[in-house]
Symmetry: C2
Subunit: 327 residues, 2 copies
């Protein structure tokens, strides 16, 4: 119920998911049951592998996540994560507020031993495949060891989900030299360098290295990562605006853009977040996938497939082992 268009897009996305995977998954729709049933009626959902769990409480943007979690046990967020905690679901997927989903997941599921702070791992496109940016919004003020742990978790995710061998992990900074950056970056460089054995740490990288794919995993605090993520997600909209402006300048222009429409869509596909669907919350004792508030059905569908992938790869065990050894 946390999405901007809930539960319409959520229900539609779930139905599309079940159709595509031919009922391989079972989807539990958690939220306001009458509203969900109303949406289900709009689609021919018979024979699909889902169930509905009623959760009428509403958490809104103005609620403090921590308070809301305690006072609204029957919200879709708290109910859904609690069901996951109790083993009634193998993963939890939500297009709700990142802060609220992160807080609820952390409080209810707990952290993997060795993890100081769970982190949202944003997926950026690049010339060499997907690049993970950790953290992209869970922790605004970080300590050096948080960044190191983000790097370890991101590296394992990159290895197991994106099948990258020995992922290259870089520290986001404003210059390549060790002496560059703010206090956090300088301290983190030192901290991570001393623990190189645990990571394929390639040193400092800059903003321009991400789309080039010069690394597979980017470590940064959640403030920088979130600003960057939202900026990157706004690029396709800006390009669309520029193409429209160009098309409006004359008939020939319009024709050319018209001819190219399909191709442009293909060219920009990697920049479209709905393809990735959602981003994993790494470090919690469970599987939580967070999506955009405005996620269309396609994004919802892909979020669910992403959750399946993470469950199958058993990344949490890898994270626990990796961070246990270093303690």
């Amino acid at each position: 119920m946390g999405g901007d268009f809930a539960p319409a897009y959520e229900v539609q996305g779930a139905i599309e998911c079940l159709r595509q995977c031919e009922n391989r998954l079972h989807i539990i729709l958690v939220g306001d049951e009458p509203k969900i049933r109303l949406e289900l009626q709009k689609h021919s959902a018979e024979g699909l592998n889902f169930s509905v769990v009623h959760a009428p409480d509403v958490i809104d943007m103005h609620d403090s996540p921590v308070v809301a979690i305690k006072t609204k046990p029957n919200s879709s967020l708290v109910k859904g994560i609690t069901m996951h905690k109790e083993g009634l679901a193998e993963a939890f997927v939500s297009p709700g507020n990142t802060g609220a989903v992160t807080a609820a997941s952390t409080l209810i599921l707990g952290r993997i031993p060795g993890v100081s702070r769970p982190s949202v791992a944003a997926i950026f496109p690049s010339e060499k495949g997907p690049v993970l940016v950790v953290d992209a919004g869970a922790v605004s003020d970080c300590k050096p060891h948080f960044l190191f742990e983000f790097g370890v978790m991101g590296s394992l995710y990159s290895e197991y989900v994106f099948k990258k061998k020995n992922p290259r992990v870089g520290l986001l900074n404003i210059g390549e030299e060790e002496s560059k950056g703010n206090e956090l970056a300088k301290d983190a460089y030192k901290f991570i360098s001393e623990r190189k054995g645990k990571l394929n740490f390639v040193g400092n990288i800059e903003g321009r290295d991400i789309l080039k794919g010069n690394v597979d995993v980017v470590m940064c605090d959640g403030f920088v990562g979130n600003v960057l993520l939202k900026f990157a997600e706004s690029v396709p909209g800006y390009l669309k605006f520029q193409f429209k402006k160009f098309a409006a300048q004359g008939f020939v222009n319009k024709l050319m853009i018209g001819m190219l429409r399909g191709s442009l869509k293909e060219i920009f596909r990697d920049m479209d977040y709905t393809e990735f669907g959602g981003i994993p919350l790494l470090g919690v004792n469970g599987v939580t996938i967070i999506g955009h508030g405005s996620s269309p059905p396609k994004a919802i569908k892909n979020m669910i497939f992403r959750a399946e992938e993470v469950v199958n790869q058993k990344i949490n065990q890898q994270i626990q082992e990796s961070l246990k050894e270093q303690q």
Copy 2:
């Protein structure tokens, strides 16, 4: 001499500039004279309004800016800024290392009274014209009042150079609510809100608001701003890569992209930093324009025109008056 291709591109850019402005400006080329003369020979520079000042010392990336400034008075950087300080030039333009140019400008020219830290103001394209991001690399670790001053300086620059009326100034954050963000953002929000009279402060903005042009000026620390700037500058290269990949998929694709080449260039022009040339260092007692190390001649040319514009607008007087009143 600080550019990656110095002095070849610098000399060529200066010549192109003088030709375009028909000798309206006088350009002093400061650097290794024999090398500069060699470049000049490659062009028909006769009759153009320039002079050459010999400055053979070389500052390299590994030098500490502060030490270099003291020990290398005959570097192009120190010599050039000193000439500006002494009134022998009305502005200083360099594609050298941002940290070094900022440090040298601050030390030699001094700060405008009321300015705590000079700031580089990056120019981003948007759906509604240029957006300034201050700071984009001068100050990594900021205090709330730095951000406020960046906003005041950026606002004046936007008003006088970009002719925007009552520029909208936003605080870069990871959510709209006052309670959002890291410690700096929260404290800065409070500090700036209390001084609203000096700024058209529209509150928190997010990464996605920049390209939309929802504000004219974005306040942030130089770490976030620099990461964002370098990321944004890498977008055209990434798109080029995607277009090439698409073209390589077949003859029809190649033909389509070929047909569209000129148009694509036009569409992406606003994202091309060489159009803006360089970014101003706001808050120093003088006019310094900083460019990319890899600036091509066109960027060098546009940097010089930008410097002329800033000199003509007398922005420093405006900054001084605006920040004096608030003391």
